[in-house]
Every structure is written in C-alpha cells, then in structure tokens.
C-alpha cells in the first residue's frame, strides 16, 4: 500500500499558482512546496507541470532546481518527475558513478513491472540519446555486465502460469551454484533474467522446500566479489522486493552519516506503491518506526518532505 496522501480532486492551475508564489521574490517558501507537491500523485504532478508551463512559460522543474539546494532539491527533483523518467535519471546517475551502483540498476530492472521497465528504457533514450543497455554495457565489465545487461533488457512474461518441472530443475541449478560457488554464471543469469516473476517465485519456494532455508540466506556472508553482490541483490529483489527495500532503508539510516541518496530513492520510488508495507517490515525488524528513524537522522526541509511522503498528516 502507498503512503502518499493525495486528495482526489485538485486544481493543477491553483497548485501551479501556489508554487509560483512560493518561488517568487527573495527566498523560497519550501513549506508551501512540500505542502503542494508532497500531496500529489504522479498524474497530478504532471498536470501541475503542464499548467505551470502554460501559465508562466517556464519549466517548473528548472525553476525548482534553481530555487532549491542540497538533499532537499535532489529529493524534490526526483519526486516531481514521471516515474519512468525518474527511474531513467536514477539509472543514469548509478551508471555514471566512478564505481557504478550496480544494485540500483538491479533494483530498477527487477522491482518494476515488465511494462514499467519498457517505459524506463524509452524514457532513458529520450533523455540520454543512448539505450539503457548500451550505457550499462559500456560502464560495467565481466559477468556483472552480462547479468546487468540481461536484467535491463528483459521483457518478462507477466502471466501466472508456473511450470513445476522447471521450478524443480532450476531450483537445483541455483542450489548447485550457491553451494559450490563454482558458479555457472551463464545458467544463473539465464534463469534470473528470462523467467517470469511468478515462475521465479515458484523456483525460490521450491529451493526453500528442498533445502530448508531460503536462497538469500544461503547467499549471505561473503562480500567482496562484485558479481556475487550484484547476484544477491538480484535474487533479493526478485524474491521479496519489500524486504529488500527495508534492508536498503535500514542500511541507509544506520550508516554513520545517512546515505541520503538511498533514503531518497526508496522513499520517492515507493511512496505511491508499497511504502506502507515496507514501513511495517521496518518496524518489525527495528522496533522503531521508519518515521521516527528518518526524523532522527535528517533535518530541515529534506526531513519535512520525507515525512510528508511517509504519510505524515499535516
């Protein structure tokens, strides 16, 4: 369930006017920005941008970029974009880092629906004049590259059908790979990047039934190997995305100095999807609410925006 609180009927023109007022003159009324944008869904935000462009012949996003700064600006920028465009930006940021954030690529390609991933690929091309897969290929190497390119290129069948024979045989293959660490990388990549999500769930369940422990538990422990790390993230995202996001949040807050990029990314991308469920998982795991943890670890307008997206009533 989503955490975003957005009224059903809004006026894009009124909202655009409020935002223009917030940016006018000296200084910026960040609270006004949060109170409008923090309570609008993707469709509404898009209408506001169009209305703003219409009324003031200016790109709202560019305006906000110039008025705001720091983590708050980054968060607003990501929040206001269309989901597909946002994912394209996140992917590009992850790829272009000196040491690419492979797990972000995994996250985007594995937790979005097949149609959503297609939309991301289109948005990426529109923005960056390259295909997503060619940029991933150009900035990664080895088996990690093979895995990531396959994941971003996948167009998984979206149906419910499960083949138990396949689940059985592929659970075996995965177990061999995990156990021996003599990874037949080709086979793992094939299974993880081509099977439908339902089929993979069946395979992971079969794995658990056959071996008494989940595949992700069996993958825990050794760090270091970049391919292994990326593989673990892949399986976690496919197996139980909410649990994966809880962990990302937990790690982002726990770190000495919050990992604002990760915190922003998860909250902004899940607020309209399943952030409520993730919050419940967070509470179960950490005995403190996500809201509290965020409030403690962040400050100012950035904090205010995050808490609003987390469902704080004004």
């Amino acid at each position: 369930m989503a955490t975003l609180i957005a009224p059903e009927h809004t006026s894009a023109v009124e909202d655009a006017e409020k935002l223009q007022k917030a940016c006018k003159g000296w200084g910026t009324d960040e609270k006004a920005i949060i109170s409008v944008l923090g309570h609008r869904n993707a469709v509404q935000r898009k209408q506001i941008r169009l209305a703003y462009e219409d009324l003031y012949q200016e790109d709202l996003i560019k305006r906000l970029e110039s008025e705001l700064s720091g983590d708050f600006e980054k968060a607003v920028y990501r929040w206001i974009l269309d989901p597909a465009d946002r994912d394209a930006v996140l992917a590009n940021v992850a790829i272009k880092k000196l040491s690419p954030d492979h797990h972000v690529i995994v996250e985007i390609s594995c937790t979005r629906s097949p149609e959503e991933l297609l939309a991301v690929r289109r948005a990426y091309q529109a923005r960056y004049k390259h295909s997503l897969e060619e940029d991933v290929a150009a900035h990664t190497k080895g088996d990690t590259r093979k895995l990531l390119v396959s994941l971003v290129s996948a167009f998984r069948y979206d149906g419910e059908e499960i083949n138990t024979r396949v689940a059985n045989s592929e659970a075996k293959i995965l177990h061999e790979a995990v156990k021996d660490k003599e990874f037949n990388h080709e086979e793992i990549i094939r299974i993880l990047s081509t099977r439908s999500k339902m089929q993979l769930m069946a395979t992971f369940n079969r794995y658990r039934d056959d071996h008494g422990t989940t595949i992700t538990k069996n993958l825990e422990g050794d760090s270091g190997d970049e391919f292994l790390k990326t593989l673990r993230a892949t399986i976690r995202c496919l197996n139980d995305p909410k649990k994966y996001f809880e962990k990302v949040l937990r790690n982002s807050i726990r770190r000495v100095g919050t990992d604002e990029d990760a915190l922003t990314r998860v909250i902004v991308t899940r607020a309209e999807k399943d952030l409520k469920d993730i919050k419940e998982l967070y509470y179960k795991r950490n005995s403190v609410s996500l809201d509290q943890a965020v409030a403690k670890d962040t400050s100012g307008d950035y904090k205010a925006l995050l808490l609003t997206l987390l469902g704080k009533e004004d």
Binding site: L118, R121, R122, Q125, K129, H130, S131, L132, E133, E134, A137, R145, K146, V149, S150, S153, A154, F155, R156, Y157, D158, G159, E161, E186, R190, S193, T194, R195, S196
Partner: protein, 305 residues
C-alpha cells in the same frame, strides 16, 4: 491422346514457384480419361509406374505440390497478420525448426524498428505465454547468447554517433575476428555487446570505419560465420542481406526453405523493395499463378502508405 504440348504445360504449371492455376484448369477440365492417362504416362516427374499396372503419383511430388499450393495461402495470411503477431510467429517457428532457421530470428530482431521489435515481444507473450528469451534459452547451441541479446535490444534510433567510439569498437571486432579464435566469436562478450546494444547508426559508422581501417568490409571478414554475418548485414547493410536471400530463393536448386523466404521477405519488406530495388529480375519468370500475382502486386504497391 494428350498432345506433348499439354504434357509440357502440365509440368510447367508446377515447375516454378507457385502454381499456374489457369493453365491447370484449362488442361484438366478439357481432358477426358484417355487424355489424363497419357498426361500421367508423359509426366515422368510426377508419376511412376506402379507394379499393379497403373500410373501412381510420386510421393515426393505430392509433398512438393503441397508446398506450391500453400504459397498463396501463406502470402495472404502473412500479409494480413498484424506485424507484431506476424513477427512473433516467425520467431517461434524459427526457434522450433532449428539452427538452419535462426537467420529468421536475426532478420526480425535486426531489421525491424525498436518499437516493432518490442511489439513482437508483447505479441509473443500473448500467443505463447512465455517471453522470447525464455524459449530461446532452450537452444543448446552457441548461437543462444547472441540471439537472446538481439531480440532483447531496444536500440536508440536517433542520430548522433561518437565516431571515436565507433572506430575503437571496429578495432575490437577486428581483433576478435582476426586475432582470436574465430570459432569462439559467438562467445566473445565484447563483440556481442557491441552488436546487440549499439544503435544502428553507430554500427553503420563502425562498419565504415572497419572498411577504411582494414581494407575489407566487416561482412567479408565474417564470411562463413553464419548468423554473425547475417547479424552484421541486417544491421548495417540490410539491402545486401535481403538481396542475397531473394537470389537464393530463385536459384535453380533452391530448397523449400530458401523459397519460403520469398514470401516472407517480399511481404514484410515491400516498402523497402520498391525503393531499394533489390528484387531479382528472374522473379518475373519463375513465379507462377496467383502467388505471382500477389507478390508482384505487393511489390508494385509497396509505397502505398
């Protein structure tokens, strides 16, 4: 008694690609039993002497005739299908039929626009309840990786090519072909990445750099490399690929699969055929009947938008 000219006409009616229906109607409806008997006796290609004293239709001829009569049907069906369903079915059939047909997969993946290929992938889901990638993974051969990569591509279609990158990637391919183990080309990760992820404009620039730098074309260097050569041609010089396929179809000793390519290429490429003019002249003589009418009309109307 059937005149020799009738026997000849009967043979001719079946001896091209397609069937001369008009000729058959005129011969057969005007023949009584006597005539037909001498037609059978005179047609050594179609009939053989059975030990029980009658002219029996030769089995392999019946098979050929089946193909011949189906050509018009196949052209009609292929023509009417939504392009997405059409391409999905072409791919599915190619996967099922095996390695000799993988060039069709390459053809569809590499000569359609990015959105058309996406459409084919969606249609594949609806029709076959699996993704193309899933079905491809049942191929045990070494072509699998390349084929999966090609069908998964959503290539950028804008202009703007980084010539330096194109040149350096031409070098990577050159080294892979000439310095490495040519047998391992299909496993060469960098080569596959380049061919499967770069835009067609980029690859065409790469193709130019390759010729300029090494004095031969990339396609020439891949002579004998089956689907790798097909891939490069389809992406960089599609007219060369299609010309080659069409000429193979109208050759004297063309097999059934080569002939089937006629229908596929002409129906799917008719717009380009008119512009590029790569239909062999021989086609006028070798096609027969309604099938001929259909294909020639397709080509003629090719630029109707």
């Amino acid at each position: 008694m059937a005149l020799p000219v009738h026997i000849e006409a009967l043979d001719k009616a079946f001896s091209g690609i397609g069937v001369d229906e008009k000729s058959l109607i005129s011969i057969l409806t005007n023949s009584n039993e006597e005539h037909k008997r001498s037609l059978r006796k005179g047609s050594s290609k179609l009939f053989i002497e059975d030990e029980n004293g009658f002219e029996r239709w030769d089995q392999s001829s019946i098979k050929i005739l089946k193909h011949q009569f189906n050509r018009f049907r196949d052209a009609v069906v292929l023509s009417l299908l939504h392009p997405w369903e059409r391409d999905a079915r072409l791919i599915e059939k190619a996967i099922r039929k095996g390695p000799k047909h993988y060039n069709v997969i390459v053809e569809v993946a590499c000569t359609r626009s990015s959105d058309q290929l996406l459409g084919a992938r969606k249609a594949y889901h609806s029709l076959f309840h699996h993704s193309i990638e899933e079905h491809l993974t049942h191929i045990k051969g070494r072509e699998r990786k390349l084929l999966v990569a090609l069908v998964s591509a959503y290539r950028y279609e804008g202009t703007g090519v980084n010539e330096d990158v194109a040149k350096s990637e031409a070098q990577i391919l050159y080294e892979a072909i000439n310095n490495g183990d040519k047998n391992k080309l299909l496993d060469h990760e960098d080569a596959i990445m380049i061919l499967a992820t770069r835009s067609k404009q980029h690859l065409q620039a790469l193709y130019r750099h390759y010729s300029q730098s090494y004095g031969k074309t990339l396609a020439q260097d891949l002579e004998g490399e089956g689907i790798l050569k097909d891939t490069v041609e389809c992406l960089c010089t599609p007219q060369t690929y299609f010309t080659r396929v069409l000429e193979a179809a109208v050759k004297e000793d063309a097999d059934e699969e080569s002939k089937r390519a006629l229908t596929r290429v002409i129906v799917t490429q008719k717009e380009q055929l008119v512009q590029e003019g790569f239909v062999p002249n021989k086609i006028q003589d070798i096609l027969l009947g309604l099938y001929k009418d259909f294909l020639l009309a397709s080509i003629a109307s090719g630029d109707i938008k």
